[in-house]
């Protein structure tokens, strides 16, 4: 029998701590698959966040260290500067990256740090039980917006990919979603591209994944994928937000 799809050797053979149908596990797999394809699984260094993926180092077969809440970009900056030949990445949720860690991520991008951030936008604080995140949609219920988020009280949800793309040091920024096989295939290409641009050493790279949190959205896992498609993607449009390597090509052609 010819293998068509087998368990990724980049994933540890342990049970993840994620809820049934939580798409964190898909994002993990895309990252380690890409590192294996690049022959860099044993060479890469990751930085874990605080959040449901705090234990990502137990699930991905990659050397990883833990950072304080939101500080992964600062830790990764140091690691990548000391190890300029290694692929370095952070893996961060939206509470971690866009609330407490917003300062770190913007400054790391602005400095053009040569690591990649994998940003999991599930529109909520998962680990702590479903509080509102900066990415929670208008009208979305959470334990801290029980009648739904309002613009008056909480402002508009932050579109992080567009925000980071506007920072000069950012080289490649793309938003993808994990709600369908087609989108997962595209997400894999985005991860490959991000590591390739990181290797070119031309600046900061980030992939934003629209991901599900069925548990705290109060939906079944399948309904949660429908919520991504119907509610999240219209507000968080998918696609490449910045690619300075493409701009270089265009300039050369002109």
């Amino acid at each position: 029998m010819k293998p068509v799809f087998t368990y990724s050797e980049g994933m540890e053979r342990v049970e993840t701590s994620y809820c049934p149908g939580c798409t964190h596990g898909i994002a993990h797999r895309l990252i380690v698959e890409t590192l294996i394809e690049n022959g860099e699984l044993g060479n890469a260094i990751g930085v874990c966040p605080i959040g449901c993926s705090v234990q990502a180092h137990k699930f991905m077969h990659v050397d990883m260290c833990e950072a304080a809440h939101g500080r992964a970009p600062a830790v990764a900056s140091g690691i990548r500067r000391v190890h300029p030949d290694k692929p370095v990445f952070t893996y961060q949720g939206d509470g971690d990256l866009a609330s407490i860690g917003m300062g770190e991520i913007i400054h790391a991008a602005s400095r053009g740090e040569r690591f990649t951030t994998f940003f999991i936008n599930n529109g909520i604080y998962g680990m702590t039980g479903g509080q509102m995140a900066p990415t929670t949609l208008i009208g979305q219920r959470s334990t801290t917006s029980q009648d739904g988020r309002t613009v008056e009280a909480n402002g508009m949800p932050i579109r992080v990919a567009e925000l980071i793309a506007a920072v000069d040091g950012a080289a490649y920024v793309e938003r993808v979603a994990l709600d369908s096989p087609a989108h997962i295939r595209q997400a894999k290409r985005a991860v490959q591209k991000a590591f390739a641009v990181q290797k070119m050493g031309v600046g900061f790279t980030m992939i934003e994944f629209i991901s599900s949190c069925p548990t705290n959205w109060g939906l079944s896992p399948v309904e949660a994928l429908g919520w991504i498609k119907e509610k999240m993607i219209p507000y968080y449009p998918l696609g490449v937000k910045k690619d300075i390597t493409a701009q270089n090509v265009q300039e050369e052609e002109a």
Binding site: M1, P3, F5, P20, G21, C22, G25, P181, P221, V222
Partner: protein, 77 residues
């Protein structure tokens, strides 16, 4: 010869989320009434011969519970 595939469902890894059942292009995956050791209803496949090897189910499984193989000449069906 039309290609034939084998879908391996690693029941102990399954968390019964049903994402795979929702994306199977041939609607072959169903939830089993049998519970695995974690207490989740795991997934099962009806009519394996109808599988087209699209790997949709394996791509979306967050828990690595699905593997797909293509049958080669000489393999037992």
């Amino acid at each position: 010869m039309t290609k034939k595939f084998r879908v391996e469902l690693i029941k102990d890894r399954c968390k019964g989320c049903e994402l795979c059942t929702s994306v199977c292009s041939r609607h072959l995956l169903k939830m089993d009434t049998h519970l695995n050791h974690k207490g989740y209803a795991s997934v099962t496949i009806e009519n394996m011969d109808a599988c087209i090897g699209c790997i949709n189910c394996a791509l979306i499984c967050p828990d690595g519970a699905i593997e797909i193989f293509q049958l080669e000449e000489g393999d037992k069906e």
